[in-house]
């Protein structure tokens, strides 16, 4: 997995690529918590180039969501590939995650 922290139009974006699994999710957790630990109003997560996610990756995002909600922030996902979206749906996460087609859609929400 590769993680890029991008400043896009003044917003913090985590652009992820590759496979998120038990091996790579601790690094994702560290990067994500570093950003939301600063209590940003919104963190955008671009999954456009993610080819795989397992339950440890999902647990990382659920933990992040709980944390941002605790201070009134938002965790927004965009560009989710079909296979990853199917896993989100199965896990009922499409009901609790804010999901957008593109990064600009998320920022404009």
């Amino acid at each position: 997995m590769n993680i890029e922290v991008i400043d896009y139009k003044g917003r913090k974006v985590l652009a992820l690529s590759g496979e998120i699994d038990m091996y790579s999710s601790p690094e994702l957790r560290t990067e994500m918590m570093n950003i939301i630990g600063e209590k940003v109003s919104a963190l955008y997560i671009d999954l456009g180039k993610v080819s795989y996610i397992d339950s440890s990756g999902i647990a990382t995002f659920v933990e992040g969501l709980k944390y941002v909600k605790s201070y009134g922030g938002r965790l927004q996902f965009c560009s989710i590939p079909g296979g990853i979206m199917e896993i989100f749906r199965f896990s009922k996460l499409d009901r609790v995650f804010e999901i957008f087609g593109t990064l600009d859609d998320a920022i404009g929400s």
């Binding site: 496979e19 699994d21 038990m22 795989y52 339950s55 933990e63 709980k66 896993i87 896990s91 996460l93």
Partner: protein
């Protein structure tokens, strides 16, 4: 005709990507449909991750044995370890409606495999047996 492959790998999470690649390739060799093969990759990954986490308690220097067996009737994956015994009755996963970190791996395994059971005859450690019957709708 029975066909199969057995491999072993260290209980380090860095090898899970190898397990996924191998599982996908095996599913391809046995002619399993692409979507099914993706679901099987995820399920086997989750089962091996559970071995590392629960049976070996994070010890990355143990051994996990993976067996793939294909017959006309079914595709079987057997995952063996020598760690702490699992109790099938306590492996439920969380309620899917209860959104919280953890507890999803078992659901990913059960949604694709028709059989999820531990071979009680194994004296030490665990032998998880996962079976997918050919031609049976998910």
């Amino acid at each position: 005709m029975k066909d199969g492959l057995t491999v072993s790998f260290p209980s380090h999470p860095k090898y899970l990507s190898v397990v996924r690649a191998l599982t996908g390739k095996i599913a391809n060799i046995y002619g399993l449909e692409e979507t099914l093969s993706e679901d099987i990759k995820l399920a086997v990954d989750e089962a091996c991750a559970n071995v590392i986490k629960h049976a070996y308690k994070g010890d990355t220097k143990k051994k996990i044995i993976l067996k793939y067996i294909n017959t006309q009737e079914k595709f079987t994956v057997i995952i063996e370890d020598s760690g702490v015994r699992a109790d099938l009755r306590s492996i439920q996963g969380r309620d899917l409606e209860d959104i919280r970190p953890g507890g999803l791996g078992v659901h990913f395994i059960r949604r694709v495999f028709d059989v999820f059971t531990f071979d009680e005859k194994k004296a030490k450690g665990n032998r998880l047996v996962l079976v997918k019957y050919h031609g049976k709708a998910e």
